[in-house]
């Protein structure tokens, strides 16, 4: 398999009036072409900040750690994303090789421009095609994502489209430049479940067709189970567990992953009690020492959890968990 993206030791902090807060802490992962990586986590887990770092879209008060390294492996060579500074150079990660779909399609389209003009504009920026050709491609893409009457929709404004339609248009726009990497940040969260099912199916088809890599960010483990090949579970800015999605969901290794699954209301077992993870997600201003999860962990071993940051340990084929429970296992690869 061909490597598409390598992220090493990514640390992102934000300078705020209340001090410097850590959003992403020493995160490493990689993605191959044609694979879907599901990043799951709750509020404050750093999943969106991680995604935005890949396009350098975090706001001006973001401070990247000195060791942070993001490498994009393209046919023409490697791109060191952290080293990109000028707006011109950044185009390669902002719509060129990487596209992003956001949760709120209404907020992602400019309200005063037609959907079509926005699609054409980005095609003109990222390629040297003619305006006429850009229009053709845009209408083709709208058709491809299942929007009926694409010529009419092309000339409409975002508010004239329904929620599901807008999200389809957003996907069409993101894919029209043929990105190598698609970042989808909670793309189905604002949609009703019947529409969500349609969008998930559409995305699966498109992965197969375009053979790109996808980073799929969501808080919904069911959506991850249905879309991703691999999963990375994040908590308070740390990846705590990674591995193939089947194995991780069937036999989670990290106490946090186990807790998440136990807290989920399941339709196949209505008698199962809902077991919340005790306590609340700590404020980013009060990040716990040692393992970030120790304040809520039901399997805490003792002072080692309170004092030492756990390293990754192998917990099965292609799987790793950052937890002191596995301190006797070998070093993991994530």
């Amino acid at each position: 398999m061909t490597r598409l993206l390598t992220v090493e030791n990514l640390t992102v902090q934000f300078d705020t009036t209340e001090g410097r807060i850590t959003a992403v802490d020493d995160v490493s992962f990689s993605l191959d072409r044609g694979r879907v990586l599901g990043v799951v986590g709750e509020s404050g887990s750093g999943k969106s900040v991680t995604a935005k770092a890949l396009m350098k879209l975090n706001p001006g008060n973001a401070v990247y750690g000195g060791q942070s390294k993001i490498t994009l492996h393209l046919d023409g060579g490697e791109v060191d994303v952290m080293a990109l500074r000028k707006a011109r150079d950044l185009r390669i990660v902002r719509g060129g090789a990487i596209s992003m779909i956001f949760q709120e399609p209404m907020a992602s389209f400019a309200p005063a421009l037609t959907v079509g003009s926005q699609m054409v504009e980005q095609l003109l920026i990222h390629s040297d095609m003619s305006k006429k050709r850009a229009r053709e491609i845009s209408i083709e893409m709208l058709d491809r994502v299942g929007i009926p009457d694409p010529v009419r929709r092309f000339g409409q404004y975002a508010f004239e489209l329904s929620g599901g339609m807008r999200q389809r248009a957003m996907i069409a726009m993101a894919l029209s430049t043929h990105p190598k990497l698609l970042i989808a940040d909670e793309p189905t969260t604002a949609l009703d479940v019947t529409i969500q099912a349609q969008v998930i199916d559409l995305m699966k088809e498109l992965v197969a067709e375009f053979h790109m890599g996808i980073i799929f960010i969501t808080h919904d483990l069911g959506v991850i189970a249905q879309t991703a090949d691999d999963i990375a579970v994040m908590y308070l800015g740390k990846i705590v567990e990674t591995g193939p999605v089947r194995q991780v969901i069937r036999a989670p290794a990290h106490p946090y992953t186990r807790g998440l699954l136990a807290a989920l209301p399941r339709l196949d077992d209505l008698d199962a009690p809902l077991t919340p993870i005790p306590g609340d997600i700590p404020s980013p201003l009060e990040r716990p020492e040692g393992c970030v999860f120790h304040t809520r962990c039901g399997e805490i071993i003792g002072d080692v959890c309170r004092g030492q940051v756990p390293c990754f340990h192998a917990v099965g084929e292609g799987r790793a968990a950052a937890c002191h429970l596995y301190d006797h296992n070998g070093e993991g690869s994530a």
Binding site: T194, A197, I200, G259, A263, L264, R266
Partner: protein
């Protein structure tokens, strides 16, 4: 047993402002809804955006313009006709029926301490005679909602989403209501917190003998908390049944489609049922006949013309579909 809430053919319409010569348009938010909510039950109302579930909940609290039908409240002590109620009776009803909102960030004033937020309903409705009594009530309900005394002195910004929702719950319950409308009360919460709030709601409901109308778009959440479920589509009830029965043997094609659309946690479980095409039509101009026929894979000409009514399929299980018998 007399139902706590009983509605018959309740309809809520919102007139739309239109141009001078334009035809007057109306949003048919709730149409002909008849339900009995038994006292002490956890009644779930499920539907997608635009189904009218929130409007129905609000109508029961006298916060939406009911245009037709009847709605009654009877808790054994008092009985009210909710369309005619006014004056002192309405004030009394407001203390008996309360609401919990979806967004715990928007629902709490940032300028008030948690104590004042929880105490406000008591003060506004003059339910207590002294500050000491108010404090006592606030402390009591706060403890029940797992907030500690130290929390009461702080402001909402210091709290996480789950804690804020517990504050909202305490505020809704401090007037000792009998009936609570919880509108998407856990939708804004993280999974690990959601379970905690659901468990809290169920405990409180049992301990205080409350009746809940629990509105949610999330079938799994409804399945785990509610005793009885009503499914709404475009302002109409399409199916009502005891929760277990509904999830074990749904009869309406819409309920079936909703259930099959939930992404399974098992990556190998490919969804077996048919997927719904298209989207929910506009309630301004609802389709004739069965409102679901535009998306229903089983629709016939009959469905496009005749609107089905809720009928009893088996004891306690009602469905509004012309073809439920043949579809089996």
């Amino acid at each position: 047993m007399t139902p706590l809430i009983r509605t018959r053919n309740l309809s809520v319409h919102f007139p739309l402002r239109t141009g001078l010569l334009g035809k007057k348009k109306v949003v048919h938010a709730v149409e002909n809804v008849s339900v009995d909510i038994a006292p002490g039950s956890f009644f779930g109302l499920v539907g997608e955006s635009g189904s009218g579930k929130t409007t129905f909940g609000r109508a029961l609290l006298r916060a939406a313009p009911v245009v037709a039908g009847r709605a009654h409240y009877d808790d054994g002590e008092v009985a009210y006709d909710l369309r005619a109620i006014d004056g002192e009776d309405l004030k009394d009803y407001r203390s008996r029926a309360q609401m919990i909102f979806q967004d715990p960030y928007a629902a709490l004033s940032p300028r008030m301490t948690v104590r004042d937020i929880i105490a406000e309903p008591l003060e506004v409705m003059k339910l207590t005679s002294s500050r000491a009594e108010t404090d006592e009530r606030v402390r009591e309900i706060a403890a029940r909602c797992r907030l500690n005394l130290e929390h009461l002195r702080r402001y909402p910004h210091a709290f996480s989403g789950g804690q804020r929702q517990r504050i909202s719950i305490a505020r809704a319950l401090v007037s000792k209501p009998r009936f609570v409308v919880a509108d998407e009360a856990v939708a804004a919460l993280d999974v690990s917190i959601q379970a905690d709030v659901l468990n809290l709601l169920r405990d409180i409901q049992r301990d205080m003998g409350l009746t809940f109308l629990f509105i949610s778009h999330d079938l799994s959440v409804i399945a785990h908390t509610c005793d009885f479920v009503a499914v709404m589509y475009l302002g109409r009830l399409v199916e009502t049944a005891p929760a277990r029965q509904l999830f074990a043997a749904p009869l309406h094609p819409y309920t079936r489609a909703l259930l099959s659309a939930i992404p399974s946690l098992d990556p190998d479980e490919t969804r077996k049922a048919q997927k719904l095409q298209g989207e929910i039509p506009s309630p301004i101009d609802p389709p004739p006949g069965c409102k679901f026929h535009t998306r229903c894979p089983f629709a016939t000409d009959m469905c496009r013309e005749t609107e089905p009514e809720l009928e009893e399929a088996e004891s306690g299980h009602q469905v509004a579909c012309l073809r439920w018998k043949e579809l089996g």
